[in-house]
């Protein structure tokens, strides 16, 4: 698993760098309306890559043990969940008050997808806490990381495309 975590940490670090590039293309990340949706997507994606990066790095450190890793994974899942909810609350408030328009399911997925992944990670961490088999959390983390990478890459791509469209719009 060490190689897998090395690859995940490296990929997540690189993708965080590319996320900064994506948010630099297009309008700045502030204000209301669709830009706020874009801002929420960028922050949510940053959380995703940061969690993959931090968990991979922690799993690689020589001093960790399965119980400690399970607690760190639980903390990461909790942090990710709280940040995802806090990030998307303003966007949904604007939507429910009719201030912005967007496709409901598409935006709901941006919140639901990461929450599912964090939930599964927390489930794996709980199972690890009650077991002596050290590979339980590794197996869960492998699936969760792949899911989070898929969501993060899709979000990054959307940010890039939306940013490019915003900058090329005739004024």
């Amino acid at each position: 698993m060490a190689t897998y975590y090395v690859v995940c940490a490296g990929a997540a670090a690189t993708l965080v760098g590319l996320l900064f590039v994506a948010v630099q293309i297009g309008p700045p990340l502030s204000g209301v309306g669709p830009v706020r949706r874009r801002h929420a997507m960028a922050r949510s994606t940053f959380t995703i890559f940061a969690i993959i990066f931090a968990l991979s790095l922690y799993s690689l450190t020589p001093f960790n043990n399965p119980g400690g890793r399970a607690l760190v994974a639980l903390a990461a899942a909790g942090t990710g969940t709280v940040r995802a909810v806090l990030t998307w609350i303003p966007v949904w408030r604007d939507k429910l008050q009719g201030r912005i328009e967007f496709r409901l399911w598409q935006t709901a997925w941006l919140l639901v997808g990461p929450l599912l992944a964090y939930g599964y990670l927390a489930f794996g961490a709980f199972r690890q806490l009650g077991s002596t088999d050290p590979s339980l959390l590794d197996n869960t983390a492998a699936g969760v990381f792949i899911l989070l990478f898929v969501i993060g890459l899709r979000n990054s791509w959307n940010l890039l495309v939306e940013g490019t469209q915003e900058t090329t719009k005739p004024s």
């Binding site: 940490a9 965080v16 900064f20 590039v21 630099q24 700045p28 990340l29 450190t61 020589p62």
Partner: protein, 179 residues
Amino acid sequence: MQPRSRAWLAIPLVAFALVSLTIGLAAHQRLGAGKPYFHLFFTDTIHMKVWLVTAAIVLALSQLLTASRIYGLLHFPPPGRLYNIVHRWSGRTAIALTLPVAYHCIFLLGFSTYSTRVYIHSLLGSAIYGAFIGKVVIVRSSGFPGWALPLAGGTLFSVLLGLWLSSALWFLSNRGIGL
């Protein structure tokens, strides 16, 4: 500020390539092989290098945090330009910490290919100051597109992380934690 032509992006790229190639060639020559080297209060030079590069990666992680704050991906107090200053100085300190490590690697150990890990480490080691110079060129010049700086910063961070993973982490995992 008038944006520069895309062709100007060749300058940091050429700087990156030239510096990386020069360091790679210098490392290949092993100009100072066999000479003694200081190790401060650490048990040996390798332990000193491991902890210096670990300190550099910790500072690089703080760079990631402050960059996220500057680019609006994270929000934490206080407002203002504090994080720009912290970002700049943590970057300078991180690079300064890598200098004694790099000197030992480049001039005393040299470019090696005897295992995949060492080969990757040698390649990344040759590239780090090229990436740094490329980033400095972009920071110190004006008119580059907005995405050039995060791209250069991200590259530098990834290279430093790769170096740490292929050296300090490997050493700490295989030899245990010690000073």
